[in-house]
Symmetry: C2
Subunit: 204 residues, 2 copies
Amino acid sequence: MKRIPEHIGIIPDGNRRWSKRNGLKKEDGYVHGLEPGLKLVKAAQNYGIKELTYYGFTVDNCKRPKEQVTAFSKACVRAVKMAEQENTELYVIGNTNSPCFPEELLPYTSHRHKPRYNKNILKVNFLINYGWEWDMKNGWASHEIPRINLVIRWGGMCRLSGFLPIQTVYSDFYVVKELWPDFHEKQFADALQWYQKQDITLGG
Amino acid sequence: MKRIPEHIGIIPDGNRRWSKRNGLKKEDGYVHGLEPGLKLVKAAQNYGIKELTYYGFTVDNCKRPKEQVTAFSKACVRAVKMAEQENTELYVIGNTNSPCFPEELLPYTSHRHKPRYNKNILKVNFLINYGWEWDMKNGWASHEIPRINLVIRWGGMCRLSGFLPIQTVYSDFYVVKELWPDFHEKQFADALQWYQKQDITLGG
């Protein structure tokens, strides 16, 4: 492919609908989203993509029933640990001043500041207990995450749901109808193929 | 329809491509976007929509060749005047401290502050010489424009191009493949029909 997006935003939506369709409890879906996340990291590396940002969970998501909050929080911690095994540079961002932020991820919240030992390594960012209002009120707290070229959302909705409003001002959005636990590499390949045909103007 | 979006954002893209396809100069397309804008105002009134926000032109658009800047600026002035004839409450927002801002529209930049004589009147906002960076740097200059439920973009692209990043954090996006001068009410009806099936979560 000629035109590979440097930085892709991933909205892995549809875990709860997937659970329902598969006769599971709502909170049981998240763990089925881990393998997809890992496959996507590997695929991104193969395509030579430089950076991925996953929408983990938001401050507002934490208002859901406790079982769900525990389940997606655990899944996110595991997702970060799994990505760490794949020769990546990790960065976690979100409101750490809240009991909803998983302690285990605190060490990853400052990685962006470290000097890079390998320029060609895939950068993987996770938004954890993130909120767009929190981001804005803190003088654009997420400013170390650069502009996003392409946002891919699973689960059929065509919306950002508060995902990095500043970094996405010029992003192209691609929607995958299938739910996130039904991730397949072909969906990702199709998104990249679609991106080839989009004309970049950056508002000009 | 059961679920009518209160506030719709309109990105009327594709005027230059339309000109090219019709053997005209790039700058000749904008005037063909006026009738569509008027039809849309009337359709919105018929559906009982409360507010429309049009993406007129941006600070960055003004870097284009002079003939184009003159053409879209004139078209926007006419669009505002045309909307004014339709029993609407108008509001224009953008960087007025720039030669790119059309003088004739200055009187409309403060309308939002006036007391409303009729609550059921359609509000129509135009972004004129708007820039998302200008908006943010001025402490969210556009804050009087409320949250947008649905963004409809003509011209096939699925992106916001800097359109009100804060008001669109939870918006649904609908893309019309046809170019803006080829507007047809059916496209608008289809967008509203599609919106019926979208589930609002507001990030929860």
